[in-house]
Symmetry: C2
Subunit: 408 residues, 2 copies
Amino acid sequence: MAKDLPVSPLAPERFPDLPPVRGVRFATAATGSRYQGRDDVMLAVLAEGTTVAGTFTRSSTRAAAVLDCEAKINGPSVGEAAILVNAGNSNAFTGRNGEEAVASIVDACAEATGIRRDRVFTASTGVIGEPLDHKKITSHLADLNASLSEDGIEAAANAIRTTDTFAKGAVRTVEIEGKTVTLTGIAKGSGMIAPDMATMLVYIFTDARIARPDLQSLVSSLTNRTFNCITVDSDTSTSDTLLVAATGASGVNVGDSLGFASALQDVMLDLAHQVVRDGEGATKFVEIHVTSAHSDAEARQIGLAIANSPLVKTAIAGEDPNWGRIVMAIGKSGAHANRDRLTIRFGNIVVAENGWVAPTYREEDGAAYMKAQDLHIAVDLGLGGGHATVWTCDLTHGYITINADYRS
Amino acid sequence: MAKDLPVSPLAPERFPDLPPVRGVRFATAATGSRYQGRDDVMLAVLAEGTTVAGTFTRSSTRAAAVLDCEAKINGPSVGEAAILVNAGNSNAFTGRNGEEAVASIVDACAEATGIRRDRVFTASTGVIGEPLDHKKITSHLADLNASLSEDGIEAAANAIRTTDTFAKGAVRTVEIEGKTVTLTGIAKGSGMIAPDMATMLVYIFTDARIARPDLQSLVSSLTNRTFNCITVDSDTSTSDTLLVAATGASGVNVGDSLGFASALQDVMLDLAHQVVRDGEGATKFVEIHVTSAHSDAEARQIGLAIANSPLVKTAIAGEDPNWGRIVMAIGKSGAHANRDRLTIRFGNIVVAENGWVAPTYREEDGAAYMKAQDLHIAVDLGLGGGHATVWTCDLTHGYITINADYRS
C-alpha cells in the first residue's frame, strides 16, 4: 500500500469549491479494512427524478461491481438512486465470492436508504484478487444513511482515493432559459490508467433535467473525447466506472442544449486532466495534438502510441528533446504515416519537417522548452483530415518506486 | 550516451566460443563518430555461393538502410555479399541526406570489396534524427577489406553494441548426411525492443547450402516464433534488421532438413533471449507461456499484453507476486478470456483458478518464487487450442536511469 506518497507536483493548488447540487447528498465512513485513520467508503443518494448514465471498462476480467452496474444501467430510467464506493479492495477476480459481496452490499444499501436494488450502483477500487469482506461495509450503511449531507462531496472525493496523492473535483455552471444548471464531479485514479471506456472511478452530478437515453448518448460520446484520450501507463483497470447523475431539480430541460454538453465536457476533461496530473510518479503534464491524420481514429492511435511509449515518457522525464523517439512511436503505431510529410513541434518550435530535422531547429531551444512543467507536442501527418488530442504524463523513478515497492 | 553501464545481472558468464563458418570473414574499425576508444563499424564478407534472407521492421518511419535492404533482399539469389553496420547513429528520419549516406556507404563498400552494389546490405543503429557523417565510415573501407578474418566474429558482435552491456553470440552445429553444418549468429539490442519483424540487429551465418526462397520462408516463419515474441519495453525500433547468410561452403543441402530448421530456431531463440537478458535495467528474465487460447495469435496477444504491462513488470521488479496485475493485463488485451476458466501459475504453483485465488495458494509461496532470477508465468485460458510463449524482463529504476538521464 502506497503510504505517505508526496503530493504530485502537478496537483492543483487546492480542491475547488464545489457548490451543493440540488437532489444530491453524500456521506462517508471509515471501515478500517485496508487504510487506517481515514474514510474509505462513500455513499451518494440521488433524489426522485434522477436519471443515471454511465460507461464502464471493456476489460474481459472486469470486476463484479462493474458487471452489476452494466446490468442495471439501462434499467428504470427515472427515480431515486444510490452510489456506493469502497476503496482499498477492487473485488475483481474474486469469483462467486465477489458476486455475493456485491449482492450483500446492494441489499444493505437498499434496506438502509429505501432505494430499489436495481437503482443501487456500486464500485470497488484497490487490490485485485483479494476477497472483499463485505460486512465491514454493510455494517456502516445505517450510519451512512443517517449522516447524508448536501455538503459532503469533498469528503466523498477523499474517501475514494487509493494511490491518489490529491482529491479530484471539478465544477461548471451554465445558464439555460434564465436558470442556472450546476455540474459537479469527483474522480479517483493515478495508476492503471489507460481507460478503455471511462477512467478508474468518476462521478458527476447535475441538477439538469434530461432523459436517460439522451444523457447516455451524450456521456458515451464525450467519454471518447475525454477519458478515453488519457493514459498514465497504458494499463487498463478492471474497475473503470463513470456515472453521471442528473437529478432534474433545477427544472431545466437540457436534452439538446449545446451549453450543457459543453459544460459536461469541461467537467469531464477537467477531471481527466487531474487524473493525469496525479499519474503515478508524474512530474510533467503532456498534451499531444495530432492533426492531418488518415482519420480521427488513426490520429488517436498515433497520439496514444506516443503517449504510451516508455522511451518518449522517460525522455520527457529527463527533459531531453529526443524527438527521434516520437518518430519511432509514430512508426510503430500501425497508423498511416509518410516520413517526408511529417511535422513535429514542441510548443511553437518546429523540430522536424520534410523527413528530417527542421533547418531552423536548434537543440538548445528544444532543451529549454522541455524544462516546462506543462508540455505541448504537435504532430502533423500531412495526409488527411483526422485529428485527436491525448494527454499523458512522464515516466519517472517515482512510478517504479510506487509500483515495485508497494502492493497497490 | 549510456556510458559505464554495469553489465546486466542476467548476462551469460562469457561470450560463447564461436567457430569460424566457412565462407564468412569479418573486420571492424573505430570511426570515433559517437563512441571513443572502441570499434563501432563491422564488415562481414560472404563468399561466392551465398544466399541471404532477411526480415525487417515494419515501422512506417524505418531507417534509410532498412529501406535499401528491403529493396535488395529479393534480388540476385546466389553470390558474394557484404554486410556493413555502424553503431551510434541510426540514420533514421534523416531525409534525402540519409538516403545519400546509404548510397555513398554502399558505393564505397562495393568498390573496396569488389562486390556488386545490390549485394551490399547495410544497417545503422543509434540515435534517431541526426545526420550521418558517412565519410567517417567510407574512409575506413579499404582498411576494413584488407583486415578481413574468419575469426573476427566476437569483435564484430562488440562493434555493433549501443546501450548493450554485453556482446551477444550463439552457435549450433547439426550433422546432416554425415557432414557438419555450422550456424553462428550475433545480435545487438537492449532498448526499443518490441520487434515487429525482427529485433534490432541480428546477423546469422551458416555454411549450409539452401536456395534463397527456402531460406527466406524458413527465416520468416521462425522470426514469428522467436524475435517477434520478445519485448523489453513495447517500443519498436526504426532499424530492426535480421539477416541470415548461407554460404553453402559445407556442400550440404539443407532445404528440407528439420535438423537445420531446429538448429536455426535454436540460434535465433538463443540470441533473442540474450537481447531480453540485456534489456535496459533488467534484473529478471521472464517467460510467459499462454495455452488454451482462442488462437495462436490471441495467445501471443495476451502474452505480450502481460509482458508489456508496466504494472506487471514493476511488480516483478519488486518481487511482488501480484497476480491481480496479470488478470488486469489479460483483461485489457482485447483477446477472448473467460474469468472463470482462467488458470495462472508461477512456476509449479497454481495461483488462481476458477475465477479467483486458488484455495491451495499461499502468498508466502508466491513471494518466495518471485525471488528467483528466471521466472516462468503460465496462463491457461481454458478456451481453445491456441498457444504462444513470449519473453520479457522487468521494469526497474535502471530503465529510467538509462533512458531519462542519457540520450541513447
